[in-house]
């Protein structure tokens, strides 16, 4: 498959955006708002001119070309549908309509104006229009941000399937790690214009490069001071407790532990989990068939039945236990 290559510097108001990246399948850039994510897409599309470096597709240099000569399918965050044109005319603006309306399930909306459509429908029109361009590269800016929570999970599934079916090099940006992980083969974490880490979603969780990546991927992050103790590292947490990790570390560190690595108990149990933090239950939130429980400084994830059996409720006291092998130490 052809490859999109980026290696450029773009001065932004608060910092320089510097990126070096190859896109072969689907890459998602995640990061907080203002990290420069959209600017990356604008550079690829030719809507912003980098001060240094180049953009190339399949060995063909795109640097300096105007947007209309780049063959990108850009789906804007607000979809940017032309309000004075019908759905069909919007798609036809970019090229042959063909069976795109049918493929994206918008044939019945062909004569409607964008103003009459729901968020999910607008997104499908924007995708159809981008594909009518017969692009070499697909660019998606926050493809799920404009949707409400209810339609979002459905659209996420549809979009993921569509991207696999199209098989184009795709660069998407999102502020939501879960969206990135579910849509992309590779996820890059972008902070203040720099790529902190680029890895598969699984590797990003297993081996976060730093504290920011860890907390961004949904991990608990406990601050403390580490010192080696026999074969393990002992970390004195800011709250006074001690936890052990199989990772090596020294000095100020962040202890990374994912919610699903943490068990919850009402009493201190004698099991292989070396670490136990006692704390008040801050919140109990149900997410599908799981329950997220906040115990002191950490969030644990347990099944709904366990939560019911343990009678977890706000204000009670519980122990969060996790193995030393379930932790990662990142320098702070």
């Amino acid at each position: 498959m052809a490859r999109l290559l980026l290696d450029f510097t773009l001065p932004l108001r608060a910092f320089d955006l510097e990126l070096s990246l190859g896109v072969e399948r689907t890459v998602a850039l995640v990061g907080p708002s203002g990290a420069g994510k959209t600017s990356v897409l604008r550079v690829v599309a030719g809507l912003a001119q980098p001060s240094r470096g180049r953009v190339a597709f399949d060995g063909e240099d795109w640097t300096g070309r105007p947007p209309e000569q780049r063959r990108v399918g850009f789906v804007f965050q607000d979809y940017a549908l032309f309000p004075h044109l019908s759905v069909r005319a919007n798609v036809a603006y970019a090229g042959q309509v063909g069976d795109l309306l049918e493929r994206l399930n918008i044939a019945s909306l062909a004569d409607a104006r964008p103003g009459e459509l729901s968020g999910g429908e607008r997104q499908r029109v924007a995708l159809a229009r981008a594909l009518a361009r017969k692009p070499d590269v697909l660019l998606l800016d926050e493809p799920l941000a404009a949707l409400d929570a209810h339609t979002k999970s459905q659209v996420r599934g549809e979009l993921s399937e569509l991207l696999r079916g199209i098989g184009l090099p795709t660069l998407l940006v999102t502020h939501d790690y879960e969206d990135a992980a579910s849509l992309a083969d590779e996820v890059g974490v972008l902070v203040d214009g720099r790529l902190r880490q680029l890895a598969s979603p699984a590797d990003l969780v297993a081996q976060p490069a730093d504290a920011f990546v860890a907390s961004f991927t949904g991990a608990n992050l406990l601050h403390g001071i580490a010192h080696a103790s026999q074969s393990l590292t002992e970390v004195q947490l800011e709250g006074g407790e001690r936890v052990f990790s199989t990772d090596r570390g020294e000095g100020a560190v962040g202890v990374v532990v994912y919610p699903w690595e943490i068990s919850v108990a009402r009493a201190r149990e004698d099991d292989s989990a070396l670490n136990a933090l006692r704390g008040e239950i801050g919140s109990v939130v149900e997410i599908g068939n799981r329950v997220r429980v906040r115990i002191g400084p950490v969030t644990a994830e347990v099944t709904s039945s366990s939560a019911a059996r343990l009678e977890l409720a706000r204000g009670g006291v519980a122990y969060a236990t996790f193995k030393a092998t379930g932790t990662r130490l990142v320098p702070l």
Binding site: G73, A94, R129
Partner: protein, 260 residues
């Protein structure tokens, strides 16, 4: 109670004052008289001159004013100064506009032309005083076009020219049309700069407003009839303008009341 009475009194005085001259014109000119005066050569000649010069001036304003407004809708250094320059003729006394046009295009002016006192001079005077209304409205209309739509058009393979004609112009259209209606109305009523720069020669440079002025010494009824005609044309233009403003999809650049 007293407050309401005061408000009612003030409103009555203001509305009465504004309506009275119009009512007076139609009170003295019966519809039959008005129709009869339409065949008076003084009136028909002035009507032809007015329509011809105004239409030519408006075409020039559209052809040159639209690209100017498009350029001024972008942000660049010195833009504010240029926009002020464009707006200046709006606040200038018409006599100053007239003397300025003579100083620029007169026989002994900067450009040494023989335009003065010809129909071309009428066209220039009308264009000078009315184009700022169109350009101002057009700048605002182009500014309200979503920049993302322009960017989207470019990524979809359209160059700047196609993007302008297929996206920006249609989206700015109602704002442009409203500005043009305003400029047309202003051009039709142009008096001061025209009489100084073009004079008031019947069949050549005597427009309807100039005909009112010269007729009212000779035959007050003719002046009234032309006045009535201008009221009707102006009212029609105003109604068109309001209709354009209310059907506008983009934010209208002038604070016109569109309540009905």
């Amino acid at each position: 109670m007293i407050r309401r009475a005061l408000v009612a009194f003030g409103a009555l005085v203001a509305l009465g004052f504004l309506a009275l001259p119009m009512i007076a014109i139609f009170a003295r000119v019966s519809p039959a008289k008005l129709v009869a005066q339409l065949s008076n050569p003084v009136v028909t000649n002035a009507l032809v001159v007015s329509l011809k010069t105004t239409v030519i001036a408006q075409v020039l304003i559209l052809v040159f004013g639209t690209p100017a407004a498009y350029a001024l809708a972008r942000h660049f250094r010195g833009r504010g100064l240029l926009v002020t320059l464009v707006e200046l003729p709006l606040v200038l006394p018409p006599a100053v506009a007239g003397i300025g046009l003579i100083a620029a295009f007169g026989r002994f002016g900067l450009l040494h032309t023989s335009i003065a006192f010809t129909q071309t001079a009428v066209v220039l005077a009308v264009a000078f005083v009315s184009s700022p209304l169109y350009v101002r409205a057009a700048i605002a209309a182009f500014e309200t076009v979503d920049k993302n739509l322009v960017a989207a058009s470019r990524t979809l393979g359209a160059g700047p020219v196609k993007t302008f004609f297929r996206i920006e112009l249609p989206l700015a259209r109602s704002g442009l049309a409203a500005g043009e209606a305003l400029a047309f109305a202003r051009g039709l009523g142009e008096f001061g700069a025209t009489i100084m720069f073009a004079g008031s020669l019947p069949k050549v440079t005597q427009t309807l407003p100039l005909a009112v002025y010269s007729a009212f010494d000779v035959n007050f009824d003719v002046a009234l009839a032309i006045g009535a005609l201008l009221v009707v044309i102006s009212a029609a233009l105003l109604i068109i303008l309001k209709w354009l403003a209310s059907s506008s999809t983009s934010r209208f650049p002038f604070a016109l009341s569109t309540s009905s």
